[in-house]
Every structure is written in structure tokens, then in C-alpha cells.
């Protein structure tokens, strides 16, 4: 069994400049999330996951990175509201010799539980509400008030979607009020750990990990 705990950054040279007019280019937050998953690989393996799902997978680089690390022991699913992102996500998987199955949907509509590993790098930028979901690229970063309008729609569904031993990873910006986010999930019986934080210029990003209270 493979116990290596480093994740090689997936290849994504198949993504064209034209694609990047429509999907989120792998960026600091994507790599931070991959670093956090890398850091947490032992925990993830210990829950013996069968289904891993990334919400809003964009380029597919994150779910692909997880798939290369965990190997062919799981079914890897990805959702994206943008059909092109779905296609590219699957191509990224293929380019890195893993199988990622994409579903074109809004957040997790249409996906049956249980999911063992849930991952979300949401559109977290604070913007006017009107900018949320206004176009392909706006979908990828516009988070509305407090940058929370999109992620707040996922939170009420996490408990039902996750398996009893399941784990949820979320990328947040300091402006998203991580403490408030933790409180919202705590109401559903989840405890929160800040796995990793990174400050890049004016942005302070964190990856939060949520697991059910025992």
C-alpha cells in the first residue's frame, strides 16, 4: 500500500488560454488546498474513503491531486456549474492517469449521499451580491456579501451528504469570517480545525477541516 505523503502537482498543460476565459486557473488557493490535503493524507486514508467529491472543481487540479495521492481505492467525483469545467476536470484526471467523474450541476444538486471526502474551494471574494454567478469567470470568484453567499448555500447540505466518518475541507478568506463559518457548521455537529493558512499579498487564506463530533 502506498504511504507516500507528498502530492505531485498535477499536469495541466492541456488547459488552453481560451479555456482560462471560462474556468478558474489553478492558483495559490488551489495549491494551498492541495498542500492541506497532502498534510491530512493519513487522516483521509484512515477513514477508508470510498467516494471523494470536489464541489466546483474548475480545472480539476485539486480532485486530481487527491486521486493521484489516494490511488484507485475511491470513486472520484467532481461537480461544476460550468459544463466546460466539467469536461476539463475529466481531462485533467486523464492527463494524470486518474479517473474523475464530472457532474454538471449547482453545488451538490443531484448527488446522492454518502460522500466520505468533500472538498470545496468556493468563490470567496467579497463582491456586490449582483456579481455572484453573473458569468463563467464570475462564478469562479464572486462570493457576494462577506464572500459567503455561495459557500453558505452548501453548508446546510453537508451533514446529510457526508458519511458518518466523512470529512469536509473548505478554503476561506479571512474576510469570510472563518469563526462564523465554524459556528454554522458546529450547529450541525461538526468540529473545525484550521489545517493550513497562507498570506499572499493582501489575502489571508485558510483551509478548514470539518469532522463530526463524536
Amino acid at each position: 500500500m502506498d504511504h507516500h505523503n507528498t502530492i505531485k502537482t498535477p499536469h495541466f498543460s492541456h488547459i488552453t488560454p481560451e479555456d482560462l476565459d471560462h474556468i478558474y486557473e489553478p492558483s495559490e488557493d488551489s495549491f494551498l488546498l492541495i498542500d492541506a490535503l497532502e498534510k491530512d493524507l493519513d487522516l483521509i486514508r484512515a477513514i477508508c474513503p470510498a467516494v471523494c467529491l470536489e464541489v466546483g472543481s474548475g480545472s480539476g487540479v485539486v480532485i486530481t491531486a487527491l486521486a493521484t495521492a489516494l490511488g484507485p481505492r475511491c470513486c472520484y467525483l467532481a461537480t461544476d456549474i460550468n459544463l466546460r469545467a466539467c469536461r476539463i476536470t475529466q481531462e485533467t484526471g486523464q492527463a494524470n492517469d486518474v479517473s474523475v467523474n464530472a457532474i454538471n450541476t449547482d453545488l451538490v444538486d443531484g448527488v446522492r449521499s454518502p460522500v466520505d471526502v468533500l472538498i470545496f474551494n468556493p468563490p470567496y471574494v467579497v463582491t456586490p451580491s449582483e456579481e455572484v454567478g453573473r458569468g463563467d469567470l464570475e462564478h469562479t470568484w464572486a462570493g457576494g456579501e462577506l464572500g459567503r453567499e455561495v459557500m453558505d448555500r452548501l453548508f446546510p447540505r453537508v451533514s446529510e451528504l457526508l458519511s458518518s466518518k466523512g470529512v469536509f475541507y473548505l478554503v476561506v478568506l479571512k474576510e469570510n469570517r472563518p469563526q462564523e463559518v465554524a459556528e454554522l457548521l458546529a450547529l450541525q455537529g461538526f468540529s473545525c480545525t484550521t489545517l493550513l493558512s497562507r498570506t499572499t499579498g493582501p489575502e489571508k487564506l485558510s483551509v478548514l477541516r470539518f469532522t463530526r463530533n463524536r
Binding site: 484507485p72 466539467c86 469536461r87 457532474i103
Partner: protein, 124 residues
């Protein structure tokens, strides 16, 4: 869309839908792909799948003869069955067509192998 993915899709988020599972597959274009057989993966996934829904899906796409109606005891040791399961789960893909809600008959299109589960505002 692989049949393994179909096993994880539902129309339950729609208004007035109780179960929304399994969705009926109406395939227009299908294709077969070659995926390396990984026995461990198949035996790990079986308990996570809804067997009846899988058989139903296989029936929809013309692969019913490959699978028994119920999962037999000792399936972990039946290499022939595991190989057929591998084929049906991972190697048979629906390229285009649709998924139909069993309760409302609402159709969810599949294009380029990707199912579209997006709902309209009035359906949520």
C-alpha cells in the same frame, strides 16, 4: 457517464420528489473504454453501491445479462462476476442521452458523457 456515476445520481432535490432514484437511463450514444481491472477497487466499491439500481441501469443500456438480480454470497471470490462488474461499472459509458426522474419523468440531459443535473428555479 459511467454506470458507477449513475449509481450516485438522484433527482431527490426536486420539489415533490420523494426518492428520485434510480434515474432511468435513455442512452443515445454509448461507448466502451478500456480500464485496467482492479479487483480491490471493485470489491471495495460493491458495498457502497445500490445493487438493484446498478442492475436497473445495466438493463437500461443493454448489459443486463452481465449481472445477477441479487448480489450473491461470496461475491468477493467470484472473479468472473467481479470482472463483469468491472466492465459494467467502469467500461460502459453513456456519451449522450438523458436520465429520467422516476417520479416526475423530468429529463436530465447527458452530453459528452457528462450528466447535467442543473435544476430550474421553479423545480427546487
Amino acid at each position: 457517464m459511467k454506470l458507477m456515476t449513475h449509481n450516485m445520481l438522484t433527482s431527490k432535490g426536486m420539489k415533490n420528489v420523494k426518492e428520485g432514484f434510480p434515474l432511468k437511463i435513455q442512452a443515445e450514444e454509448m461507448r466502451n473504454v478500456d480500464i485496467d481491472y482492479d479487483r480491490d477497487f471493485i470489491t471495495r466499491m460493491i458495498p457502497k453501491l445500490d445493487w438493484k439500481a446498478l442492475v436497473f441501469a445495466a438493463q437500461c443500456v443493454g448489459h443486463k445479462e452481465d449481472l445477477p438480480d441479487t448480489l450473491p454470497e461470496g461475491y468477493e471470490n467470484d472473479n468472473e462476476l467481479l470482472k463483469r462488474l468491472h466492465h459494467v461499472l467502469l467500461e460502459v459509458e453513456v456519451v449522450s442521452g438523458c436520465l429520467e426522474c422516476p417520479e416526475t419523468q423530468r429529463k436530465f440531459p447527458i452530453s459528452n458523457g457528462i450528466p447535467n443535473m442543473l435544476l430550474n428555479e421553479d423545480e427546487v
